[in-house]
Each structure stands twice: as structure tokens, then as C-alpha cells.
Symmetry: C2
Subunit: 187 residues, 2 copies
Amino acid sequence: MNHPLREHIEKVIPLRDEEFKLILGHFSTKKFKKHQFLIQEGEPAKYNFFVLSGLLKLVFTESSGKQHIVAFAMEDWWESDFFAWYTGAPATMSLECLEDTEVLCITLDDYHALCNSLQKIERFFLEKSIFGFVSAQRRILAMLTSSAQERYERLLKQYPSLVQRVPKTQLAAFLGVSRETLSRFSG
Amino acid sequence: MNHPLREHIEKVIPLRDEEFKLILGHFSTKKFKKHQFLIQEGEPAKYNFFVLSGLLKLVFTESSGKQHIVAFAMEDWWESDFFAWYTGAPATMSLECLEDTEVLCITLDDYHALCNSLQKIERFFLEKSIFGFVSAQRRILAMLTSSAQERYERLLKQYPSLVQRVPKTQLAAFLGVSRETLSRFSG
DNA sequence: CGGCTGATGTGACCTGCATCACAAAATAAT
DNA sequence: ATTATTTTGTGATGCAGGTCACATCAGCCG
């Protein structure tokens, strides 16, 4: 068995075949087309998503209509409005496809059921969560220490494939720069 | 038994007396004076800390000497260089006292031992970690959407007691503004 | 094919905030 | 108390990056 989710989890904890089967049983699969929404601001965020293929953006929209990209999610990334998903509150952000995308979906109930039937998976989620926190903190630090241009160059180095796939308008909304200014970097 | 750590954990999961005793047995207590370091950049981050009293700052120092405050930690907050603590890598940030401070300390080994002997504590740490991630993401969003003055006013509303206890020089280093500019807000 | 929508580049101009400089309070140290 | 040391305020000046405006170019769909 050679499932992307299994490989992903086994980087942290080993799994026997029937354990992975149990895990997979708690997920459903969905496909979305470019421009479709997986989560809509204001509505409940029913699922936490694991990206099998494609590309998503987690977006906050100001009342003025200006968009800010909180995160991208590519293959092997987890994404949701985690606060909304975990607490049941209405989502404050939208999750939208930048490409046709296939995901695994898990509800909070199924997630808790899974943790109860396979204790050790909790360690996996905990580690994901810690590293998610760490990388958010690093992004904060980058915003405190670096200029827009430095942040752009760092993004280029760290996620060159992302920069290929995403229009610069969107990168600008992620970096916190205007698209005009971003366009003036690098030529 | 009426321990601040117990009350803190019981907001998430209920504990029997002997369970809390088991938990507490994995921590040690330490006291530090103002200006002392709990973690030094470049050295290993041996402990994760739970603040019983006092006030800490998690600081990144640029090669120029300029300081950036990644986080504050008051009573009932957990703080460490989490990446360094979790992976064993040398710390990239320092943790320093802004006031005389008393903390509970736990090593990574004791943490794992604790999780093994009391499975349900893992759910507590997972929830802490998720909410830590969520609030880091909110801070990123605030940096994307708001001006320095708006961020300062939001801080005033959300943590008025913190603003009382911390000199504005430090608040500026947290908000990502120069102290001069911060001083010109509000009068 | 031809019309549309969104992505990108570039100029002109404006503004929020940094930086430098100096002074006055307020705390801490001896 | 009396030095130090840190904190805070305020002016003057400069720059990174925002905003507006317009032009080009690519991809998409009837």
C-alpha cells in the first residue's frame, strides 16, 4: 500500500496496514475545480483537509474587499480554518482553489473518533501542530525583521515550486506587499 | 489541592488527584530574577516553561543588535523556543525575564514520559498547540491588515495588564514599530 | 476568431514610519 | 542622596512601499 497520506504519517509514526486502513476510513475524498470554495467565510468549517493534489489558498477578505492570503496549501499539506473547525464557530476565512484540487476531508467528530480508536495518531497531529506553530512564528519574525523584498527572495528560495504555480498578484497578497511593488522586485 | 497548573489543565480535561500528582512529578520549579535568561540563543533549550508568576519575553536578536520580541509570557502561559526544545537544535531565540519570575520546567524526555504514563494529557497539549497556532496566524493577519497604530490599540484592548507591566520600548519591539513612532500614538 | 477577464509592467505622486538628534523624566544602583 | 541607566517625548528629515493611472499581454470561452 502506497498512499500519500500513509507516507506522510509514517514520516512521524510507523503504521501497520490495518492501522492505516482504520485511519483512512475516517476520511472522505472530494474533488474541487479551480475557483471553487472548500470553506466559505461566515459558514461552519466542517472539515480539516489534507491535499492530495492541487493548490489552495486560505484567504481573509476585508470589508473593503481587499484580500489577504493567510496560507497556501499544496500536496501533503493540511489546511482549514482551524479555529472554526475546532470550535464550531463560523469561519472567518475562506479556503479556495487556485487549481483543480483533490483532498481528503475529516470532520471534528471523526477526528476525535480516530484519536480514540488509535491513540498514537494524536502524537502525529501534535507534532504537525507544533511545527505549524513554529513556522507561523517564523513568519512573524520574518515580518518583524525583513523588508518586503527580502521576504520575497526568501519565499523564492524556500518554495520555488509554489512561486511557479501562483500568480504574482496572489504572492503579493501573501507577503503583504502591493502587486505593483512586488512587480518592481527582480525585474 | 488548588495548584495554578491544575486549574489551567482542568479547563481542558478533568483530572483526579493522583493524576495531577503524577503530572506535577514531571516538572521542576525554578526562580529567576529580572534580566536573567531562561534560554540563551545558540544553546540548547532544555525546558518548556509554565509561568507561575512574573513576566518573560521571547527575543530574537539581529546581528546588528536590534531586538525583536516574538512573544511575551505571563502567568499561566507556556513558553519556550519550541523548535529548539522539540528537536534538540540550538535555540535561535532567547527567553529573558522582564520581572522576577517563577516557572515550572519540563524537559522533552519528561514530557514524553508524561504522555506515555497519562495518555489523555496529550489531548491537552494538542489543544494548547492548536490555539497557539491559531493565535500566531491571527497575529500574521493583523500584520497584513492593520497599521502599527491599529495593532497597538488592539493590544491595549486585548492585554491591558500586559501594556501596564511592559515598557513601551518593549511593546514597540513586539509590534514591529520604532519606539519613537509608538510614542507618537495616543499621546 | 474575436471579445473578456485577469496578470503583469511602469511612471508619478503621496504617506506612514524609520532614523537621527536632543532633552527631560523616571528607575535603579551605590 | 546622587550618580547611572533606562524610559519617554518631540522635532527634522529621508525612504520604502502604497495608491492611482494607464498600457500590454496572456489565457479563456462563446
